[in-house]
Symmetry: C2
C-alpha cells in the first residue's frame, strides 16, 4: 500500500486529493495538456516505476478525456508502474447499451474493451446499468461499483425536513426505494416517456400522498436535466413544496442547470462524481474503500 | 471488389466520394454525431454485413475524431462487415515518436495499438516518420503509405515558372530532393532550431543560388505554420520572389493560415489530406491504388 500514488487528470484534482487522504497515499503531478494541433500530451512529474498508480478521471464529455486517460494509463505502464487502476467517478458510454435502431452497435461494449486494454482495474459510481446488468459483462478487468445511495440518504437525513424521495421514472424505482429506506422516509416514482434526446413527458404522481412533505427529486444522471425539469414542474403544478433536486452525476449539458433552477426548485445538490458548483455529497470514502479492495496485495 | 463500400466520417465526404469514384465503389451514409452530453453516436444507414468496409477519416485535431472512428470500425465489425479498412489521409500522433523528457511515453505507439485493435488495414499519406522509421514498427495491421511527392511535383510543373523547391529544415531534405527530382527543378534546404511548441528560428540559405527562381516552400505538416512563416519571411528578407507555399497536411491550427498569408507569400496550396480551403492537390488516385493493394482478395 505504501507504493500507492494517485494522479488527477485535469479537473479531478479535488477528488484525487480527497482519495489520497482517505488512502493515506501521495498524489503526484500528471501534466496533461494539448499541443497546438489538438493532440494530447501527458507527462508524469513523479516516479511511477514499481508503484501502484491510480488515475482519477471523471468521463463526462468523454472523448478527449478518454484519449488523455488512455495515454496516461499506457505511459504509466511504459514507465514501469506495478499496476494501473482507474477511478472513474462518472463512467461514460454506459447508456448505449443496446441496439435501438438498425445500423447501430453496442458502443458501451466497445468503449469497455478499449479501457480494459489499458488498465488493471476500474472503480466507478452508479453506472447506468440497465440492459447491461453488470460491468463485468463488458469490462474484462476487475471492477467495483460504488453506490451513491447511502451518502445521498445521509445527506437527506441531515438537510431535509420531512422528505419524500421522488424518482423521475419507473427505471429509478428500485434505486429510489433504497435511498428512501436508508433515509427512513417514503418514496414516490413519476412515469416518463422520452421523445428523442431532449424531449421528455412526465405523468402525474399521486399528489395527495406527497402533501406536507418536501419532495427530494433524485436522478442518477443529470445531463440536459430535462427529466428533472419536467418532474419539478409537475410537482410545482401539483402545489407541492419546491423540490430539492439531487443528481448523482452532475453533467448539466448546455443550459441544463439554468433550466432546472428556473423550474422553481428549492435547491440543486450533486455528488462529487463530476466537479461542479452543485457538489455537496462527497463520495471519496466509499471510493477509497473500493480502491482498497482492488489494489494488488503483496 | 464489388462488395466494397466506403463511408466518410464527418468532414471527409469529398475525399470519400473521390475515392469511391477511383475504386468504382459506392459510398454509404454513416451518421456520426454527438449526444447532448458529449458522447459520440454512430449509425450505418447502409448494409455492411459481408462487405469490405472502408472508413475515410482524417485525424487532424484527433481525439474526438479518433473515438468516433474507433466506434465506427467496431460497429461495422459488430454488424458483420467482412473487413474494415481505414483511409486516414492525415494520421495523428506520429510526432510523439520518442521520449524527449523523463516521465513521457511514446504516444505514437499507444495510439497505434489502439487503432490496430479495431481495423484490418490502414492507408495514410506521408506520416511523420522520423524516430519511428516505418509504420509497421508501431501498427500491427498491414499499412500502406502514399507519397505526396509525385502529386506535388506534378502540380509544381503545371503551375510554377522556374521553380526551386525549398525545404524548411534539414529533416525535410530527402523528401524535398524527391519532389525537386520529379519536378525537374533544383532544391534548397533551410536550417531551423525549435524553441518549445510555437517558436522556430530559421537560418539563412544561400540566397544567391535562389535568385531568378520562384521559391516553392514545401512542408509535410502545416500546424501552427510558424516554420513556414519564418521561412517565407526569410526568403522575403533575402529579396527573393514571393514563395509559393505547399503543405501536405493543412492543419493550420489557430491563426496559422492568416500568419502565413501575412508573410508575403504568393500562394498557399495544400494536398487534400485534410479538407481545407487551400486544397489544390488531389491524392485520391494514389490513395485508391493503396486501398486496392490492401483489400482482401477472394
Amino acid at each position: 500500500m505504501n507504493k500507492l500514488i494517485l494522479f488527477a487528470l485535469p479537473g479531478n484534482e479535488t477528488m484525487a486529493a480527497r482519495l489520497a487522504t482517505e488512502l493515506s497515499a501521495p498524489t503526484g503531478e500528471l501534466e496533461a495538456r494539448r499541443f497546438p494541433d489538438g493532440e494530447s500530451y501527458v507527462r508524469y512529474h513523479a516516479d511511477v516505476a514499481g508503484r501502484d498508480v491510480v488515475l482519477v478521471c471523471s468521463l463526462d464529455r468523454p472523448d478527449a478525456k478518454a484519449v488523455a486517460l488512455y495515454f496516461a494509463a499506457c505511459v504509466a505502464r511504459e514507465l514501469g508502474a506495478a499496476s494501473v487502476g482507474l477511478v472513474l467517478p462518472y463512467l461514460a458510454y454506459m447508456r448505449q447499451d443496446a441496439v435501438f435502431k438498425p445500423g447501430e452497435g453496442v458502443t458501451a461494449r466497445h468503449f469497455a474493451r478499449w479501457l480494459s486494454g489499458c488498465a488493471d482495474w476500474l472503480v466507478t459510481v452508479d453506472p447506468h446499468l440497465h440492459r447491461i446488468a453488470r460491468l463485468d459483462e463488458v469490462y474484462s478487468i476487475p471492477t467495483r461499483v460504488v453506490q451513491a445511495a447511502p451518502a445521498i440518504a445521509a445527506w437527506v437525513r441531515d438537510h431535509v425536513v420531512r422528505p419524500v424521495i421522488v424518482g423521475p421514472d419507473a427505471e429509478s424505482e428500485q434505486w429510489v426505494a433504497e435511498v428512501a429506506r436508508a433515509a427512513g422516509c417514503p418514496h414516490e416514482v413519476l412515469r416518463k416517456v422520452r421523445h428523442g434526446d431532449r424531449e421528455v413527458e412526465v405523468s402525474v404522481p399521486d399528489a395527495a400522498a406527497l402533501a406536507g412533505y418536501t419532495p427530494v427529486l433524485v436522478d442518477d444522471i443529470a445531463s440536459t436535466a430535462r427529466t428533472m425539469v419536467a418532474a419539478a414542474g409537475h410537482l410545482n403544478a401539483a402545489q407541492l413544496a419546491p423540490p430539492v433536486c439531487i443528481a448523482v452525476h452532475p453533467i448539466f449539458a448546455g443550459d441544463g442547470l439554468d433550466a432546472l433552477r428556473a423550474a422553481g426548485v428549492a435547491q440543486v445538490v450533486s455528488c462529487d462524481t463530476i466537479a461542479h458548483p452543485t457538489n455537496g455529497i462527497e463520495l471519496a470514502a466509499p471510493l477509497a474503500a473500493a480502491v482498497r479492495e482492488l489494489l494488488p496485495t503483496r
